[in-house]
């Protein structure tokens, strides 16, 4: 059972306090975008064996959505940060690279 630190309230939250929300940093496609772009936004998701950026909500805590960078195999957590972040922040990228120097960034 994972522990993630909620960046809003600072609580080290058990997974039972959290609700998962899938891949982070999706760019919303909408009216005016092509069928392909919209399909990719709706359905195409990363499924890496490795570093993954994902959405979590502190559902049974402060109720805030936040983002986490996590290794899907080792379950190492590189950091959590507010949902109002369009791209993975520099310190999170640095934390990943420190542990995985060969990591090439998001797929």
């Amino acid at each position: 059972m994972l522990i993630l630190t909620c960046p809003y309230c600072g609580v080290e939250a058990d997974e039972t306090e959290l609700a998962p929300g899938g891949e982070a940093h999706l760019k919303r496609a909408t009216v005016g975008d092509s069928d392909e772009a919209f399909e990719a936004y709706l359905f195409a998701r990363e499924n890496p064996k490795g570093v993954h950026f994902e959405r979590w909500r502190h559902a049974y805590g402060c109720g805030k959505w936040f983002l986490a960078a996590r290794h899907t195999v080792t379950l190492e957590v590189y950091g959590t940060y507010p949902a109002q972040t369009p791209e993975p922040p520099k310190d999170i990228i640095a934390a990943v690279k420190k542990r995985l120097p060969d990591w090439e960034g998001r797929g």
Binding site: M1, L4, V31, F38, L42, R55, A59, E76
Partner: protein, 1004 residues
């Protein structure tokens, strides 16, 4: 025959006799006995029949690894099957029943399977019962179900209670043997908070039985002082009878505590499931001895050497009068010496090693015990017990000297208990010298910080000797404290003295030259009746992966999960595949370590506590009024209010007719109510709903539809403009929490710069709908507000005081009648309900339930989320274009509704359905069209979504989604029935509204 011996039995108290029954027969044992030790003490060696061949079986082990001695314990509501007699503590009044035999343990008809064993090889299900198919169902399956299996299912509800408990600790030590205690001492000295779990009722593990010297004293004394020291330490928690059941991600551990197993009905919870968070975990789980694979190694009386020693030393029980030892290592010599000291005759020690050089062999020799080197067992004589063993050369084929004995103590070496290390991904190494898999400290399970969070200590690390085990455990405890935020203690590790050991010689089957007949009698997995021949057959048939071979042969699949002989099985498989053991690898270790009770998993979540029920403020009143309850989400809502002698259907019809003719009242408190406020609230709601919400004038209400981003209808309800910057969104009862979450998701994650605030007010208000032609009269009788058409027209609202209760009244209608929904503070809901009923009495008011509400809305052609929609329906399918804004550039779902499949013209769309004969179409019926599909079924062209008998119209009414429906009004469509005769119900397509199409009744 097994019997008690004098002068031994460190765990029993011979002054306290306990009474119990075994298959109904009264028996006695001593306080401190396990069920197995008590039975053996009373001469009862046979404790069950095997799974497949129904062979008589006795205890082979003395602890959790026991595969054979499984029994049904307790009676009635306290009956539990498949309990290991070796870990069941004896208590006064215990009742035990053996399993898997008919009619009796001694005489079992199923034993004919044993004679036909050659026809029941690995995978026999798949091979034998292929054809004819009918024979499987009527012949083979019933036979197998009858003859194969373990215990019976309990027939009564569990009479006990169970609970969860929660615990946080820096260092969790699992295992309270000398290694666990040493690790705990070192961790506690480093300043960490330490918790120690021990699955048995005793501290110290095997060390007190095995002997040696720790810190200049015997292990028993050392354990006593170590426990005293730990008990005194404020940062240490000790728990006996509590097994570490599983290690999970990021330091989560389940502990399984057996609280009141031996005191049933004492009002304490029977088991407690501990949910533990530990920064560091030290598994000091010891090692389990391996059997040897020789022909007949499953007969009662053939036991692990360590178990024989345990019975002698711990419980003062000898499994027989004359014991033969067979071993490939020095450890079994301790058993020979223990038996010798207890004055049980030792017939000899059969050792596979050609020369014996160690001091233990020397002690045995001095004791006058016969040593047979380079030898093996080629067979065991006896049917339901051991009569003699055949000793032969290790390399031989199987003839040799018969040695009379009634006990065979075997040792094939030891396997560290790596389960808890492996549960969360810890990797293993093959130790060639000791022939065992042990944890690879370089590849531990990783925590959130990417560092290892599990370490092993003592024998669990593969450190089998006392001195190295204690040194290893001390170091593990030191490091765990440091990793958990404490310090590395300078305290010295306990010092141990022990007899030097000669290395073991790995032997996986004996004798080496055994033919097929003998290999068919060499058991690997006792509980599932898997033999050497089965694993070799699996290898010949191409099962190369150990996981596949496990499932094909069932090796290691029963309740013991192969604790005894998995390594033996892997070795046999590796040999058959011609590859080294590490290349074969192990199967996956999964929690729990041993089975835990279903009750412990359920905890308190039974009966009323299984799921919390939400009740409206009027719940008790409805209950007293004879409400027939219906679950709606977590709520309970009245389905209808049956009067005396009335069926539910009659009640529903009465409620509808009364509402249409007079006036009805509904508890609408469960509807979701979400406040949306802020400068950007209107903009936000325009994105959320398909229609415009920003343009509702203050004081008015508007119906709205909400879609998910993929275009499908998600929820609906009336939106109210409370103030310039404030809206109140009503949602469906079941959608309230979900829609609030949906709003927050978009506000926090997409439009986070929009100034909008949301709050769920669902439980702040009680809400009562008063509907019917006489509704206004009822509100006028309540008094306090002008509820005239002029003051409060349709689709408006007003704040005021009604019957002296502060109220907000909405002129909205879900029935099609003149209707008011009155919202009051929740704590005044019951009062409002009573006052409405009193005020309405003169006008014939009656409460109505959810079914009447459903039928009345269907008469009006209003959709119901979950009936007309199912997650694949877009608003355009519902013929509700009036609720889809053409002006808005964007809303959630708009882009999706432009996708080619959504814009298809032949989509199933909503229409009303009127049967030609007035009957009611069955719920869920499909509309069938011309032609057949590739399975010979009629092509589907739609389905019914809501179907009812309308008491208002006195006929069946329905709505359905039909291909191009709205374009085909007036056509007659066939609906298939499910009676199998191919008959159809004919219905004419029409508009969805069956009642008051102009909407004149609501707008008066």
């Amino acid at each position: 025959m097994s019997h008690r011996i004098e002068g031994k039995g460190r765990l029993i108290d011979r002054s306290k006799t306990l009474r119990y029954t075994f298959n109904g027969k009264p028996m006695t044992g001593y306080a401190g006995d396990t069920l197995a030790s008590a039975l053996m003490g009373a001469g009862q060696m046979v404790m069950g029949r095997s799974f497949k061949y129904h062979r008589p079986r006795g205890a082979v082990a003395s602890g959790v690894e026991e595969p054979n001695a499984l029994m049904g314990i307790g009676e009635g509501g306290r009956f539990e099957p498949n309990q290991r007699a070796t870990t069941t503590a004896l208590f006064d009044g215990l009742s035990a029943k053996t399993q898997n035999h008919w009619p009796t343990l001694e005489f079992d008809i199923g034993a004919v399977n044993d004679l036909g064993a050659r026809f029941l090889p690995a995978g026999f299900y798949y091979k034998t019962f292929m054809f004819p198919r009918v024979a499987w169902k009527h012949l083979f399956e019933p036979f197998i179900r009858q003859s194969a299996g373990l215990g019976a299912v309990p027939k009564e509800p569990d009479a006990d209670r169970y609970e969860y408990a929660y615990h946080h600790t820096d260092v969790l030590v699992i295992g309270g043997g000398v290694a666990g205690l040493a690790a705990a001492r070192a961790a506690a000295a480093g300043g960490a908070s330490v918790t120690v779990l021990e699955q048995t009722p005793h501290w110290g593990g095997r060390a007190p039985v095995d002997g040696g010297e720790i810190d200049g004293t015997d292990p028993d004394a050392w354990v006593k002082s170590a426990v005293e020291e730990l008990e005194k330490a404020e940062n240490v928690t000790l728990r006996l009878n509590c097994m570490g059941a599983g290690v999970y991600d990021h330091g989560f551990v389940l502990g399984y505590e057996r609280v009141a197993d031996t005191t049933p009905g004492d009002d304490r919870p029977r088991h407690r499931l501990w949910r533990i968070r530990a920064r560091q975990i030290v598994t000091a789980t010891g090692a389990i001895e391996r059997p040897l694979s020789f022909p007949g190694n499953d007969l009662p009386g053939v036991m692990l050497a360590s178990a024989v020693r345990d019975y002698v030393e711990n419980w003062g029980v000898a499994p027989g009068k004359r014991a033969l030892i067979v071993t490939n290592n020095d450890d079994a010599y301790l058993t020979a010496l223990s038996l010798h000291a207890a004055k049980v005759e030792v017939a000899g020690i059969v050792d596979v090693r050609p020369t014996l050089t160690g001091p233990l062999a020397e002690r045995a020799r001095k004791a006058g015990i016969r040593l047979m080197t380079g030898k093996a067992l080629a067979g065991v004589k006896g049917r339901s017990g051991v009569k003699a063993a055949l000793v032969t050369d290790l390399a031989g084929k199987g003839t040799g000297e018969a040695i009379e004995c009634d006990t065979i103590a075997m040792s094939g070496g030891w396997s560290p208990v790596v389960h808890l290390w492996s549960h969360c991904g810890g990797k293993l190494l093959w130790d060639e010298g000791e022939a065992l898999f042990k944890p690879d400290p370089e590849r531990p399970p990783l925590g959130a910080d990417g560092q290892g969070f599990v370490a092993t200590a003592g024998a669990a690390s593969g450190a089998l000797g006392l001195a190295e085990a204690l040194a290893d455990a001390h170091e593990a405890g030191r490091r765990a404290a440091k990793a958990a935020g404490g310090t590395l203690t300078r305290k010295a590790a306990p010092k141990a003295n022990e007899t030097e050991r000669q290395p073991l010689k790995p032997v996986w089957i004996m004798p080496a030259g055994a033919g097929p007949e003998k290999r068919m009698k060499m058991w690997l997995d006792y509980q599932n009746d898997v033999k050497v021949s089965d694993v070799q057959l699996a290898a010949r048939e191409g099962y190369q992966s150990v996981e596949h071979a496990k499932r094909y042969t069932t090796l290691g699949m029963a309740t013991d999960q192969g604790k005894l002989s998995n390594i033996n099985g892997l070795a046999v498989l590796s040999d058959a595949l011609g590859q080294p053991i590490p290349q074969t690898g192990t199967t996956t270790f999964r929690p729990p370590y041993t089975p835990i009770s279903m009750g412990a998993i359920a905890g308190e979540a039974r009966g009323e506590l299984f799921q919390s029920i939400r009740r409206t403020p009027m719940h008790a009143i409805h209950d007293a009024a004879g409400a027939v309850w219906e679950p709606v989400g977590h709520w309970r809502r009245p389905f209808c209010f049956s009067e005396a002698g009335e069926s539910d259907e009659e009640a529903v019809n009465r409620e509808i007719l009364n509402t249409r003719e007079n006036v009805g009242m509904l508890d609408a408190s469960t509807l979701g109510k979400i406040l949306v406020k802020g400068p950007d609230a209107g903009k936000f709601l325009d994105m959320l709903y398909t229609n415009m919400m920003s343009t509702i004038p203050v004081g008015k209400c508007r119906y709205g539809l909400m879609c998910s981003e993929n275009g499908f209808v998600s929820d609906d309800g009336v939106v109210v403009r409370l103030a310039e910057d404030t809206w109140l969104c009503h949602t469906t009862t079941g959608g309230a929490d979900r829609i609030h979450g949906h709003m927050e998701d978009w506000l926090q994650c997409e439009w986070w710069d929009w100034k909008v605030y949301t709050a769920s007010l669902t439980e702040e208000y009680a809400q009562v709908a008063v509907a019917g032609p006489k509704a206004r009269k009822v509100l006028e009788a309540l008094g306090g507000m002008d509820v005239s058409k002029e003051a409060m027209p349709f689709m408006t609202w007003a704040d005021g005081t009604l019957a002296d209760i502060p109220a907000r009244v909405y002129r909205i209608s879900f029935t099609g009648e003149l209707s008011y929904e009155i919202a009051v503070p929740a704590n005044r809901g019951a009062e409002l309900w009573e006052k409405v009923r009193e005020a309405g009495a003169a006008h014939g008011i009656q409460p109505y339930g959810t079914e009447a509400m459903h039928i009345m809305r269907a008469e009006k052609g209003f959709i119901m989320i979950g009936d007309e929609t199912d997650g694949t329906v877009i608003p355009q399918d519902l013929d509700m274009s009036w609720v889809i804004s053409k002006k808005k550039e964007d809303y959630l779902g708009k882009r999706a509704q432009q996708r080619p499949d959504m814009a298809r013209e032949d989509r199933w769309r909503l229409v009303g359905l009127e049967t030609l004969d007035g009957s009611v179409i069955p719920d869920g019926a499909y509309a069938v069209g011309e032609g057949l599909n590739d399975k010979g079924q009629r092509n589907m062209i739609g389905r019914v979504t809501s179907t009812y008998y309308s008491p208002t119209l006195k006929k069946g009414i329905a709505m359905g989604l039909i291909e191009r429906g709205p374009e085909r009004l007036g056509e007659v469509v066939d609906f298939a029935t499910l009676d199998g005769t191919g008959t159809v119900i004919k219905a004419r397509l029409r508009g969805t509204c069956f009642y008051d199409e102009e909407g004149a009744k609501a707008d008066v």
